[in-house]
């Protein structure tokens, strides 16, 4: 398969993830749309082209790990895992129902394919660093991918984990920063800014930093991960410059952290996402 064919596949997968993410959150009527939709492209790259995993054996020892430290993005992960056969994706339409196995924040005890439980911001990156260290100590040839949010990076624990990973030269750890510029109370630069920038912070902590100009472009994300694989003695941070709510008609313009649109707005958003998927598919023959 040519690279262009592969990228076309990933664009289609990302569009499918967006449709399913909206259907999953829409099944409950409200939820964390913004920070789920911004990550659809990165999830498409990880599960469509990069990670090694076995949907029939989610805890396979030699798998790559994926940790959603910004756990409120759960729906995008549920959509991805469902589309890849960890379970029928429709199962995730039980999001946040009583006794669900698809809670708003990712939980490894509930959902196949979720490696670590997250939700209290800052904790997931430490857990991911520990898992990567443990896998390395046991001689496993695997990578751990961890998503954090730019808002989450307010937490001091993120930087404790960052210094630890650099100190232990963990090149089997790739942190993907959802740099969407928004947090619950508004713009990151207004609520709590990151000094010289979040990439500069990771650089100062001794990481190899790759700025991905368009964090919603599968090819740029894919290329950045190939570059990350070549790094020998440092953990790697990919700064994904994304759009919060990307592809959700009611959320993209507002950059809202969570949304509770009307039934009509949900129907419209899902319709547009499906049209977009059809349009991406149509490009295959073009």
């Amino acid at each position: 398969m040519s690279k262009e064919q592969k990228m076309q596949e990933l664009r289609e997968f990302a569009a499918e993830i967006r449709v399913e993410t909206l259907k999953i959150i829409g099944s409950r009527g409200f939820g964390h749309v913004g920070g789920s939709m911004s990550l659809a492209d990165a999830y498409a790259v990880l599960y469509g082209a990069v990670m090694k995993y076995d949907p029939k054996n989610p805890t396979w020892e030699d798998r790559d790990w994926c940790v959603l430290s910004k756990g409120h993005g759960g729906p995008v992960m549920y959509a991805t895992l469902g589309l890849k056969g960890f379970y029928p994706v429709e199962n995730a339409y039980q999001l946040n129902q009583p006794h669900t196995t698809f809670p708003s924040h990712t939980d490894h005890l509930m959902t196949p394919g979720v490696d670590l439980t997250t939700g209290s911001l800052g904790q997931g990156i430490s857990e991911a660093v520990g898992a990567a260290l443990g896998n390395r100590a046991q001689g496993r040839d695997s990578h751990t991918f961890v998503f954090i949010g730019d808002g989450e990076a307010d937490e001091g624990q993120v930087w404790e984990a960052a210094q630890f990973a650099a100190h232990y030269k963990m090149n089997n750890l790739i942190c993907l920063v959802d740099n969407n510029g928004r947090q619950l109370d508004g713009d990151v630069n207004v609520v709590m800014s990151h000094g010289k920038g979040i990439g500069a912070k990771f650089d100062a902590f001794g990481w190899h930093v790759i700025d991905v100009a368009d964090g919603n472009d599968v090819e740029q994300i894919y290329d950045a991960i190939q570059e990350a694989y070549k790094v020998e003695d440092k953990p790697i941070a990919l700064i994904l410059n994304t759009v919060k709510g990307k592809g959700a008609t009611f959320a993209e313009s507002t950059g809202a952290h969570s949304s509770q649109p009307s039934k009509e707005e949900w129907d419209e958003a899902i319709k547009v996402a499906e049209e977009n998927l059809a349009a991406v598919r149509a490009q295959k023959g073009a």
Partner: protein, 321 residues
């Protein structure tokens, strides 16, 4: 469970921390998956001995305890058996959300060791004196919580904790105080130990209070009062059966702990009594106060943790019987 009580009230030649290190050393010898993570306090509990024997199984997380608990949780998720040490105040208050969620709720076997419990923090003073560390871990639904009394018990319980599949919290006295048990004594988690039989009252103690309870029992015997003494080394899961039996047979309980009484061993036991066999209870321990700096013998008097305080509590409870 088989133990031999020393009971001479003499100083132990070994420090309690050596009980922990000796046990972990043997665990590491047998299993490469056992690791120790420290937070820049390796020197305080002689982790150098682990470093020397198993350098690949020891990690230093620096002065960043919250991250260290997350690291330990991730390592446990990858299949390792991590022990993690820092001072008790950091091992409880500072890392509580991480311990609760990353380790406890996540059901990973993370074994947290908090040194210098209660007044044993002595010259580090109020900022380093945990009177409420166990309270936090008692509130974690699947936690195991232990307060060992001496070298031999610390050694034995550390080996048992390594087998527990969920979060554990161990208080670790650093220095050597009184020898309570002979080496080779064995203990079962969740099973209290009856050290002296008695019929008038039961004294239930743990940690540094066990030897003081034994001294109190001897003083009471001189006055014709027959006291049962139980070492309740495991605060959670609590040996409810033994507590109920003691309440029924002796009709009065005195608890003695190096911890706040409002949220510790005494209150946990009161919970059991209230639901099963309500008898009068008196509480020896920290009475809603903060810590302070000073030599340990001064602090034990200052906070009423002496054998005579237990004797007074026994007389008070007998008057209510």
């Amino acid at each position: 469970m088989s133990f031999v009580l020393d009971g001479k009230h003499e100083k132990d030649k070994r420090a309690c921390r050596d009980g922990y290190i000796d046990a972990v050393l043997e665990l590491m010898d047998a299993d490469k998956k056992v690791v120790h993570i420290d937070c820049d306090l390796k020197g305080c509990i002689n982790v150098g001995r682990l470093d020397k024997a198993h350098p690949d199984q020891v990690y230093n997380a620096g002065i960043a305890e919250a991250n260290a608990v997350g690291i330990a949780s991730g390592m446990a998720a990858s299949g390792l058996t991590p022990f993690i040490h820092t001072f008790g105040i950091f091992a409880s208050r500072r890392v509580f959300d991480q311990a609760f969620l990353s380790a406890g709720y996540s059901e990973w076997p993370v074994h947290i060791v908090g040194s210098d419990p209660g007044v044993t923090a002595a010259f580090n003073g109020a900022t380093h004196m945990p009177f409420e560390d166990c309270a936090l871990y008692l509130s974690v639904p699947n936690a195991t919580v232990v307060d060992p009394a001496d070298y031999a018990q610390c050694y034995a319980l550390t080996k048992e904790l390594a087998k527990v599949p969920t979060i554990t919290y161990q208080r670790l006295i650093r220095k050597g105080f009184v020898k309570v048990y002979e080496d080779g004594s064995e203990f079962e988690l969740g099973k209290g130990v009856t050290l002296r039989d008695g019929s008038d009252v039961t004294i239930i103690a743990s940690g540094i209070m066990v030897d003081k309870a034994l001294q109190a029992e001897e003083a009471l015997k001189e006055e014709g009062i027959s006291a049962r003494v139980i070492d309740m080394h495991t605060w959670k899961p609590l040996d409810e059966e033994l507590i109920i039996k003691a309440a029924k047979e002796t009709g009065a309980i005195v608890t003695a702990e190096n911890h706040q009484v409002s949220c510790g061993l005494g209150s946990a036991i009161a919970n059991v009594l209230a639901q099963n066999c309500l008898v009068p209870q008196e509480f020896v321990g920290i009475q809603n106060r903060y810590g302070q700096v000073g030599p340990q013998d001064f602090l034990e008097k200052e906070y009423n943790l002496m054998p005579e305080d237990i004797v007074a509590a026994v007389k008070k409870v007998l008057a209510r019987k």
